[in-house]
Amino acid sequence: MNEARKEFIKGIRAEIPILIGVFPFGLIYGALAVNAGLKTIEAQAMSVLVFAGSAQFITAQLVGMGTPALVMVLTIAVVNLRHMLYSASLAPYLKDVSLKWKVLLSYLLTDEAYAPSILHYEEGGALDFKHWFLLGAGIGLWTDWQISTAIGVFLGAALPANLSLDFALPLTFIAMIVPTMKKFPTIAAASSAGVVALFAHPLPYKLGLIVAALVGIAVGMALEGRKSAEATR
């Protein structure tokens, strides 16, 4: 077995535990997307075109609320900004691969493919074939996400619409962020964004969401800045 193939398989292996955790999310996404009013083909196409879990959940929610395209695109951009961090963090390890590889690996660069890859890269060792590791992790996740979306779409279409299933979306977000509420600036960012969202709700084009998110981010950064200023004093 050559080195490239070995790295590829290592990448898939490292991804397997994550795949198990992601699968139910794909199911829920697919089911909710069709419940929110997306057509089957649209729900599946989003998993291919956007390929980013939380952004897809939010977009499904926004489609259900009749949000204009521009606000949805802005929201996707804000929610996915963190991918720039992953891009920066992996860049030194991928600087010598061809442009085609860079394009392919960038398309596959999700939270879940990044996590095992950066750990693997930071271990060091021969780096010549390490892009194959990210390819393995990325393709593993991509396949998992497409299949789970498809099954979710199928199940979601079969469920009656009056089950309040759309409530699973905010519940999903609660499950994702509540465990991260550890430091005061994070808690303050979340609560201020939430409260502003209540008052900004009547704004047109669902702009309240963007306003609230920006306020929350500003509050978090201001409090963090004050804390670190105190620490250096």
Partner: protein
């Protein structure tokens, strides 16, 4: 082309662009410190901005009464999420609570 396809195409392109940006520009550009810090607060801010109206508003008006089933189910889900740190459990118990409260 309708809004959904436009959103998915543009949203997908932007997402790809952000993933590709620094892998492509490596060495030519550094993420400013302020942006790096801002990134950390995006998930709590955006998610809360979606969660709060879902729980606290009924038909656009603040509803803090005990008859607000979504608020009660959501608060339960927050407690479950905090103690269990288990996503599926949080969703399942939250949905179960909503169904139960709505059928009362």
């Amino acid at each position: 082309m309708n809004d959904i396809w436009l959103t998915m195409l543009l949203g997908g392109l932007i997402t790809f662009g952000m993933r590709f940006s620094l892998i492509y520009l490596f060495g030519k550009f550094e993420i400013p410190e302020a942006l790096r810090r801002a990134l950390h607060y995006i998930p709590p801010a955006v998610f809360s901005a979606i969660i709060f109206p879902e729980l606290f508003l009924s038909d656009g008006a603040l509803n803090l009464s005990l008859a607000n089933a979504k608020l009660l189910a959501g608060l339960l889900a927050i407690v479950v999420a905090w103690f269990s740190r288990n996503t599926l459990l949080t969703i399942l118990l939250g949905m179960a609570a909503l169904f139960l409260l709505q059928s009362l």
